[in-house]
């Protein structure tokens, strides 16, 4: 086996394209999973079981079926009902939806970890329920769950290559395409491997900085 710097140079333009797609999928997937996870967590606390049961059943189903199956379903089955999105949009929605069923558990734990005395103080001050959530409970709960949410961002990063299965050209997609066209596998795969490590590392550094800022 020989290492060919020329192949690395040839691959780099494709690498940047793939990196952009991976980061897009990661950023948008994270936003969807953070927002949707919070929505699920709040709905699971609804007084009516006619809200809690369907939400519980749907999220349990999504959490316990493979992301790859969900990707195929959204990409190949939905168009049969004339619902069509681009591959990247489909991928972002699938990954965000899938991970929202994990982040909802994180939020739930964070909300439950807020001491009961905080609820009681809010009652004693007559704060309306909505204000109790937005001003007292959620700021404290979210602060607690940032580290756990960050871990899911890194997990999500490592799942983005699955989008290749629905024709998205992320970093792995670009690497595979390049490899097949040039019969050079080592260089592109090594480059994206290093890129994954660097992104993970950067994300964890950012995360720790954010944690330090939030610690009170």
């Amino acid at each position: 086996m020989q290492w060919d710097w020329g192949a690395v140079a040839d691959f780099m333009p494709h690498f940047w394209d793939g990196l952009l797609v991976t980061l897009q999928a990661l950023a948008l997937g994270s936003v969807i999973s953070f927002v949707l996870g919070l929505v699920w967590a709040l709905l699971m606390r609804a007084p009516s079981r006619f809200v809690r049961w369907p939400v519980g059943a749907v999220t349990e189903f999504i959490r316990n079926t493979p992301l790859l199956v969900q990707l195929f379903f959204l990409f190949y089955v939905l168009p049969e009902w004339n619902i069509t999105f681009s591959a990247l949009t489909t991928g972002v929605v699938a990954i965000g939806l899938h991970y929202s069923t994990y982040t909802m558990q994180v939020y739930r734990a964070g909300i439950e970890a807020v001491p009961v005395g905080q609820w009681e103080a809010a009652t004693a001050l007559n704060l309306p329920p909505r204000r109790t959530w937005t001003a007292v409970i959620l700021p404290q709960a979210v602060r607690r769950v940032v580290p756990a949410l960050g871990n899911y961002v890194i997990a999500m990063l490592k799942d983005t290559p699955m989008l290749m299965a629905i024709t998205v050209l992320d970093m792995l997609g670009e690497a595979r395409l390049f490899a097949q066209q040039n019969f050079q596998f080592t260089e592109p795969l090594t480059v994206i491997g290093v890129a994954f490590i660097l992104i993970s590392y950067l994300a964890s550094v950012l995360l720790r900085a954010l944690e330090r800022r939030l610690v009170r």
């Binding site: 103080a121 004693a124 001050l125 007559n126 001003a135």
Partner: protein
């Protein structure tokens, strides 16, 4: 002297402000309050004493609507607090403030915002007015210079004084004090009790305290209620209860704590 802690429309002194009629509260098979009747007159400072588990704190928690009674009625200033609709509860609750054993300040807000949050969002006070009042109250509790601190940057005693200011900011007619010094280091107790003595002396607010500080109870109380097993077994002015208790259980209890 115009006192920031006093209520805008104080009830006539001496009229009945709080009334419990046959109030029963059970936790599982444990009956904490058993058909309790008692009342507190406006402007009075009433202390509840008695052994742990005798239901003292439950009375405060019932008044603050943190727990619901199983039977009976509770009335505050003529308005029913239980049974009542959620809307009515919210109205009646405006008359009541509470200070907790564990302070329960909001750790995500600075001291000033802890105090202004409810006056602004519940009473609709302007931010400027609420902040001005908050500063007056912080001055009253001796913490005028700590507006911009976060609660965790304060000692327990300071946190509790902020909590007192926060409760007073809602201009309640009744202040409930639930073992407010029990979680404090011994050297911080005096500062908190001094603030409360000051409030008791200079305002017309009605106070209902659960405390293990018998000297404090003797100082500020107009009336002391001795509880045992969910009943009031003896009541009277502090000189009587502490000096010449009638009931055998009261003598035993005071003998153990004094």
């Amino acid at each position: 002297m115009k006192e920031p802690a006093s209520h805008a429309n104080p009830p006539v002194d001496g009229s009945e402000l709080i009334r419990f009629d046959h109030v029963t509260k059970r936790f599982g098979s444990n009956t904490v309050l058993d058909g309790l009747d008692f009342s507190v007159d406006a402007g009075k400072h009433v202390t509840l004493i008695g052994p742990s588990g005798s239901g003292k704190t439950t009375i405060l928690r019932l008044l603050m609507t943190l727990v619901k009674p199983d039977e009976g009625t509770i009335t505050v200033a003529g308005d029913q607090l239980f049974p009542a609709s959620e809307k009515q509860v919210r109205e009646v609750r405006k008359k009541i403030g509470m200070v907790f054993q564990q302070f329960n300040l909001f750790p995500n807000m600075k001291v000033l915002r802890n105090i202004t949050e409810a006056p602004v969002t519940v009473l609709g006070m302007s931010k400027d007015e609420a902040e001005q009042r908050a500063r007056e109250l912080l001055d009253l509790v001796g913490l005028a210079d700590r507006c911009d601190a976060y609660p965790t940057q304060l000692s327990g005693g300071q946190q509790q004084r902020v909590a007192i200011a926060r409760a007073l900011a809602m201009r309640p007619q009744v202040l409930l004090l639930d073992e407010v010094t029990s979680a404090l280091d011994p050297e911080l107790v005096a500062g908190v009790l001094d603030v409360l003595r000051d409030i008791a002396r200079t305002t017309d607010i009605t106070m209902l305290c659960v405390t293990h500080e018998m000297n404090f109870a003797r100082d500020i109380s107009d009336q002391v209620l001795m509880f045992d097993s969910g009943h009031v077994i003896e009541t009277g002015p502090p000189e009587k209860i502490f000096g010449d208790p009638e009931h055998e259980r009261t003598r035993e209890f005071l003998g153990a704590v004094l």
